[in-house]
Subunit: 337 residues, 2 copies
C-alpha cells in the first residue's frame, strides 16, 4: 500500500498545456486543502492558480511531498527535470511520480534522497508482493465503480460519491486503485501493477475490515469487456466483495478505446455480467445506478438519453459533472437499509 | 518467456518422499528423453530410477541444466543444497528452480554462475514485463484446459492431449503456463507471476501466430470460480483466444480447495460461464469435452459417474489417467473441420 506524506507541492515541469498537467489539476480540484503550492521550470506554459513557491519554501511551510503532476505522452520523465526534483529531495520533501520512468533510475536523485532520508515513490509501480485473497467476508460496506470501458469516469464517480456521502455525515472512504487516485487520497494500491496471483488479495487489503455502517468507495479499473485488462477488473471485483456497483459509461463510445474490433456491450448485459461475476464473493451484490460521462452530448441530447436509459433500466442515472451524484448516494444508502 | 537448456540433470536434494519430488517424477514421465540422470545428497530417500551422476558427469554428457525437481512445503530452498547447486553451476550447468526462494539470493551461487556464464532461472518468477494484449486474431488453432478449481488435472490433460495429437500426426505444441509445465516443455510463461495489466498480453505471446492447421494446447491456470485467482484465469482465457476449451473437474471436490465457503459450480454452469467469458476474444469458442480426475472413485463409481455426466452434458468425457484422451482429441479435430 502506498502512503504519501501530505501536504503537496505540485510540480509542473515545463509543460505547455493543461491536458498534460491534468493530474496536477485533478489534485487541485479534489484535495485543495492538501496543496501548499505549485512550482515549475522557466518556460512552463501552465499555472494552477495557486501560490507559487520553491521546494525550500514549501518545506518551510510544512509540505511533505513534491508531486510530479504531469502525464507526458509515453510516460517518460524528462531528464532536465531531475535537478529540480533533486533540490526538492534536498529540501526534505518526498518525491512522488506517476510516470513509467522510475525515480530510482536517477543516481543523483537517489543519493539526495538517501542523504536527507526522504522517499522516492513511484505510484505507478507496485511496491511489494501481496498475499492471495482469503475470500473472507469483512465488516463494513463497499461500493465499486465499474465500467463498459476504461477512462470514462470511474475515478471521478467514486471521488464524487465519497465526498457526497461525507457531506451527508456518512462515514465513507475513497479507496484509490490508480496513480492519480492514490495521489489524491494519499494512499492506495496501483492494482494493475500487482503480480497477477495477488490482484484479489491486494483488493482485500485495500478495503480492510471496518465499522458496519462505513462505506468504502472503491475506484474501479479497466472493464470486464476489455480484451487486455478484464483480468484486473475481475480480480478487483472479487477482492472488493462490493455490496453495490455503479456502472460508468460513455454513450459516445461504440467500441473499446483503441480496440475498434471490440464493441461496447449493451448496458443491461454489462450490469448482468458484472453482477454474475461479483456474486462469487458477495451474493448480495446489486447495481444501484449508472454514471454517464456525457461530455460528448448537448444538453438536449443528454436529456433524451437520460430519459431513455432511465426508462429502459429502471434505476438511478446521473452525469456527475452535469448534476452530481446525489441520486446514486441516495440509492446506495437506501439499499443498505 | 522462459527458455530452458535441455537435457536436464534432476536434483532431488535430500527429500524423503515421492510427493515432495513430484516435479522430478513429472519430468521423468513427460520428457524422459530430456533427462540425462538424477543427483541427490547423502541421506536422500527417493530415486527416479534413472542413471545417477554428478553435475560434472552430466555436463560431460551434454546436460544443459540442473533442475531442482522438488516442491517442499512452504516452497523454500534448503540452504544446505546450495553448495551442490553451486558445484553444478561451476560444472557449466544452468540452475533451474521452481521454488519461492530466488536462486539469486545466494551470493556464492550468483558468483559461480557469473564466473561460468551460466544462468540462474527461477521459473516461478516473472522475468520481464510483457505488453498489453492487442486482441488481434492470430493464425493457428488453440485449445485451453480450464477447471472448476485449481490442481485437478489441467496440466496433465494438456500434456496428454498434445502428445495424442502428435501421435496422430497433427502439428501440436504444449504451451506451459506454470513452473512444472515450463520445465517439461523447456519454455513457457509463469502466467500467475506476470504483472496484472499484462496477463492477457503474456498469453498472446505464449501462443503466437502459427500455421492454420497447428494446434497450441495451452495449460490452464486457476479457475473462474476461485475467489483469489479468477483474474489470472480470465486474462489467460482472453489472451489465449481459444477455439476450444476442455473443462477439467474432480468429482470428489464439493468446495474450492482450501476455500470451504466457495462451492464448486455445476458443470453446465461452469461450461456456460467459460464460454461466455471466452467469446469476448473468440466468438467461435466451444467446449469439446470434459477431463475428469476420478482418482477418488472406484472403477464402478467412475463408470456410473461417467454415464451420468455423459448423458447430462452430451459431450465427450474421459479420465486421462484411466483411459487416455483419445475422445477429446477426436472431438477437437472434428470441430476444427
Amino acid at each position: 500500500m502506498h502512503r504519501l506524506r501530505k501536504p503537496y507541492l505540485l510540480f509542473l515541469g515545463d509543460v505547455q498545456d493543461k491536458l498534460t498537467a491534468k493530474t496536477a489539476f485533478g489534485l487541485k480540484d479534489w484535495c485543495p486543502n492538501d496543496v501548499v503550492g505549485e512550482w515549475s521550470l522557466p518556460g512552463c506554459g501552465v499555472s494552477l492558480g495557486v501560490a507559487r513557491m520553491s521546494p525550500q519554501e514549501a518545506a518551510a511551510r510544512g509540505a511533505g511531498s513534491i508531486i510530479v503532476g504531469i502525464a507526458p505522452t509515453g510516460g517518460a520523465l524528462p531528464p532536465h527535470w531531475i535537478a529540480e526534483l533533486t533540490a526538492a529531495a534536498e529540501a526534505g520533501l518526498d518525491v512522488v511520480s506517476g510516470l513509467h520512468t522510475r525515480l530510482t533510475s536517477f543516481p543523483e536523485l537517489v543519493q539526495a534522497a538517501s542523504r536527507r532520508n526522504v522517499r522516492l515513490i513511484d505510484v505507478r509501480h507496485g511496491e511489494r508482493t501481496y498475499g492471495a485473497a482469503s475470500g473472507r467476508k469483512r465488516g463494513g460496506k463497499r461500493v465499486l465503480t465499474v465500467g463498459t470501458d476504461c477512462a470514462l469516469g470511474k475515478k471521478y464517480t467514486a471521488l464524487a460519491l465519497a465526498k457526497n456521502l461525507n457531506s451527508r455525515g456518512v462515514a465513507a472512504s475513497f479507496r484509490a486503485t490508480g496513480q492519480t487516485g492514490i495521489m489524491i487520497s494519499g494512499e492506495g494500491i496501483a492494482i494493475d501493477a500487482v503480480i497477477a496471483d495477488f490482484i484479489a488479495g491486494a483488493a482485500e487489503q485495500l478495503s480492510p475490515d471496518n465499522a458496519a455502517d462505513h462505506w468504502d468507495v472503491i475506484e474501479g479499473q479497466g472493464s470486464l469487456f476489455h480484451p487486455a485488462y478484464a483480468g484486473v477488473t475481475l480480480g478487483l471485483l472479487h477482492g472488493s466483495q462490493p455490496d453495490a456497483i455503479i456502472l460508468c459509461h460513455d454513450p459516445s463510445r461504440r467500441t473499446i478505446d483503441e480496440y475498434p474490433n471490440f464493441p461496447i456491450p449493451d448496458l443491461q448485459v454489462a450490469i448482468d455480467d458484472y453482477l454474475r461475476a461479483g456474486r462469487l464473493t458477495n451474493p448480495a451484490i446489486r447495481c444501484v445506478g449508472l454514471s454517464i460521462n456525457s461530455s460528448s452530448l448537448s444538453h438536449a441530447e443528454y436529456a433524451e438519453y437520460f430519459r431513455r436509459v432511465t426508462d429502459k433500466l429502471g434505476m438511478p442515472v446521473c452525469d456527475p459533472v452535469r448534476n452530481g451524484v446525489d441520486v446514486l448516494a441516495t440509492a446506495l444508502l437506501a439499499t443498505a437499509r
